[in-house]
Symmetry: C2
C-alpha cells in the first residue's frame, strides 16, 4: 500500500477479513500502513481485545478512529469489486476528505501469494480430498442417477471434513459443492465461468448433474470442491461405468500429458499465457482440440488460482502476461469432452516453489471403473 | 417503474434474472417499461429467441439497444445493493445520458409479493422438507457428533430433492445448507444475522455445528434450508437426546403459542412491528424474555421474508412499519435458548392470504426424542 501512497485499507468483506485478521465478523478492519490494525465489530458481540471496538454503523468510523488516536486517511482503499455499490458509496461518504480507491485487485494480488502455513493447509486438504475420492467406488450402486451418486460423494467429502461452503469471487459465480458430470451432460453449456457446465437439476441452479441415470460406457467426472480449512482445494477425477471406448483412454492420457508438460514448464517467472499455449499446442497435435475444455461452449482457461475463493489469481489463460511467483497456488485442469462418452481429463492443485511446482492433491489419476 | 418515471431496468444479478426471465445467464436483461424485454447473453452460448442477443461486454449495450430499435433510457435502474461498486460504475458509464438509480429496493419489494405459481412451489417445498425431517430419527445413532448428524440430515434433504445451494441477500450472509445446533452451541454468537449462531467447525465459516458429541439432555435444533425449486423454504424442528428438563418443554410450548398468536393476528394490513411486539409481550409474560432469540447475542427479528433468497422482505422486527400484503411469504421463528439444554422453538414458512395466513411447512411440531 505504501508504494502506492495509500494510507489505509478498510476491509469489510468476509473473505478479506478472514485473510487479514483470521476471522469473519460483521464489521470493519481498519488497516493503516503505519499503525496497528483496529477491528470494529457489529457481530459477534463477544469479541474483546486491545484493538477491538464495538460499532453499530459505518458512520461512526471517523469518531472511533479519532478515539484510537488515528488520523483520518488521505487515501483509503475499499473493496470495490466485492462491496455492493451502495455499501461502497455509504462507506466512502464517511471519509469525505479521502481519495477512495478500489483496492480489490491489490488484495487479490496479495492473496495470490500464499504463506507456508496456507500451503500446508492446502497439503492437508489434498490428503482429505483424496481420502474421500478413494471411497467413491464404495458408494456406487448400479442403476443410480448422477444426482444420487453426487449426493453420496458430497457426503464422503463432508465425512472427511469438508466444510461444504464453496466460495467464489464475483456474484455471478455459484455452485453447490461442485459438479458431477456423467456422459453428454458434460457438454451442456452453463452460464457460469467454470471449466465445464452441465445442465443442472433446476433452472435456478443450471450447473452440474441433471438427474439422468448412469449408463454403461459413460465417463463420470467428479469435481467437488475440497474446502476443508477455508482454502478451496481443487481436484477432478474420472470414473467410468464399465469400460469406455479406446478413444476415451487416449483423450484422458492426452490431458495427463498436458498436465505433466505444463507442470514441467511452470516455475517462477514463467508467464501464464505460455502455459496455456503449451496446452493448446499439445492438444492440437493430439487431434483433440475441438473437444478441449468443453464441446460447443469452451472455457477460455486451463487453470486458475485457488485460495479462500476458488477463482483467485493467477489465471492460466491466453493474453495473461502475469508471471508465476513462488507461493502461488493454482488448479490445472486440462479436460476433453467426447460426444457420446463424456468428460475425460484431470485436475490437481499445485503450489509454485522456488524452482518449479509441487502437486498438492495426490490421488490415483487413472480412470477408475465403477 | 412507470410510477417512478423510470424508463428501464437493466438486470445483471442471478437472483433477479431468475425472477424476471426465469433463467440465469451471464449477461443482462434489459426491461423497458413500454417494449418487450431483451436478453443479452455472454453465456450459455446456446440460447436463441426473438429477443435474445449475444454480447461480449456491457459497453456494447447502447449499440445493441439501437439495433433493437430501442431508444436509450433517460432514467435507468441498476441493482445497486447487489452489483459490485465496480460493475455498477462500469455499466452506468455505458449510459452517460441516463439518470442511473439504485433499483434493488424496488426489485425486492416486487419479489416480496409472490404469484400463485411461486406459492405452489413453496407448498411443494414444504412437503419435501417435511419428508426429510420425518426421516431424521432413522439416521441418528448414539455417540454421534453434531457434525455427523448434520451430514446425515443434509443427505436426507438432498435425497428428497434439495438443490443444496443457499442463497442470501448481502455478501456478508453465508452458511452451508443450514444449521444443526446441539446444546449450548446454540448460544454461541455468530457474525451472521441469522436467528441463531453456533460456533461452527472452522474460523472460515463460524456458524452452526461445532463438532461436539451429542449428549443426553440436549436439545438439537435442525434448521436446514429447504431449497427444492429455487425458493428458500424455511423450517426448524427440535429433537432431543432422551428426555429434556420440564423447562425445555415449557419454553418450546411458549414458542408454539407465540407462533399461533402471531399467525392468528397476521393478515393484509397488519404492520410487521406489531407482530414482533406480540411475540415480545407473550415471551415476557411467560418469563423467557432473557432467552428469546438467543442468549447473550440476540436476533432482532422473529421472522423474515422468504423467496429466491432466504432473507427477503418483509422483516418482522421492531420499527418496521411495513404492512403485510397478500402473497407475501415469510418464515416465523420464535426460538428460546436455555443454558445447559440448548435451543427450543419452531419455525414455519407462511403465505399471507386475503384474510390471514396459510402454513406452508406442515410437519410434527413437538420435540421428537431420538
Amino acid at each position: 500500500m505504501s508504494a502506492k501512497n495509500i494510507d489505509a485499507a478498510l476491509i469489510a468483506c468476509n473473505v478479506n477479513l478472514l485473510y487479514t485478521c483470521g476471522r469473519i465478523v460483521s464489521g470493519y478492519l481498519y488497516l493503516p500502513v503505519d499503525a496497528p490494525a483496529q477491528l470494529f465489530v457489529k457481530r459477534p458481540n463477544n469479541l474483546t481485545g486491545e484493538h477491538v471496538h464495538p460499532i453499530r454503523k459505518p458512520e461512526q468510523l471517523p469518531e472511533l478512529l479519532h478515539a484510537c488516536g488515528l488520523p483520518l486517511p488521505s487515501t483509503l482503499i475499499l473493496e470495490g469489486d466485492e462491496l455492493s455499490y451502495s455499501d461502497y458509496m455509504r462507506i466512502a461518504a464517511c471519509f469525505p476528505q479521502a481519495d477512495v480507491v478500489n483496492g480489490t485487485l491489490l488484495l487479490r494480488k496479495a492473496r495470490s501469494i500464499k504463506t507456508e502455513q496456507e500451503i500446508e493447509l492446502f497439503r492437508r486438504s489434498g490428503i482429505a480430498h483424496a481420502r474421500a475420492y478413494n471411497r467413491i467406488p464404495s458408494v456406487y450402486t448400479p442403476g443410480m442417477t448422477d444426482r444420487e451418486l453426487s449426493i453420496e460423494v458430497e457426503r464422503l467429502m463432508r465425512q472427511e471434513g469438508s466444510l461444504g461452503i464453496f466460495r467464489t469471487f464475483g456474484q455471478g459465480m455459484e455452485i453447490f459443492m461442485g459438479s458431477l458430470l456423467a456422459g453428454d451432460n458434460a457438454a451442456a453449456p452453463a452460464p457460469y465461468d467454470f471449466a465445464l457446465g452441465g445442465e443442472g437439476l433446476d433452472a435456478s441452479i443450471p450447473i452440474g448433474a441433471n438427474g439422468s441415470k448412469l449408463q454403461k460406457g459413460q465417463s463420470i467426472m467428479v469435481d467437488i470442491g475440497g474446502n476443508f480449512f477455508g482454502y478451496m482445494g481443487d481436484m477432478t477425477r474420472v470414473f467410468s461405468i464399465g469400460k469406455l471406448p479406446a478413444k476415451a483412454y487416449e483423450a484422458h492420457q492426452v490431458c495427463i500429458d498436458i498436465q505433466d508438460a505444463v507442470a514441467a514448464k511452470a516455475k517462477p517467472g514463467v508467464v501464464c499465457e505460455e502455459l496455456y499455449q503449451t496446452a493448446i499446442n499439445l492438444v492440437t497435435k493430439a487431434g483433440f482440440a475441438d473437444y478441449f475444455m468443453g464441446a460447443g461452449q469452451k472455457a477460455k482457461f486451463i487453470g486458475h488460482g485457488i485460495g479462500l475463493e476458488i477463482n483467485e489469481l493467477p489465471v492460466l489463460a491466453p493474453h495473461v502476461k502475469q508471471p508465476l511467483e513462488a507461493g502461488m497456488t493454482f488448479a490445472l485442469e486440462p479436460k476433453i469432452v467426447l460426444p457420446g462418452i463424456g468428460a475425460l481429463g484431470i485436475e490437481n492443485s499445485w503450489v509454485v516453489t522456488d524452482t518449479g511446482v509441487e502437486k498438492l492433491t495426490l490421488c490415483n489419476e487413472n480412470i477408475v471403473e465403477l
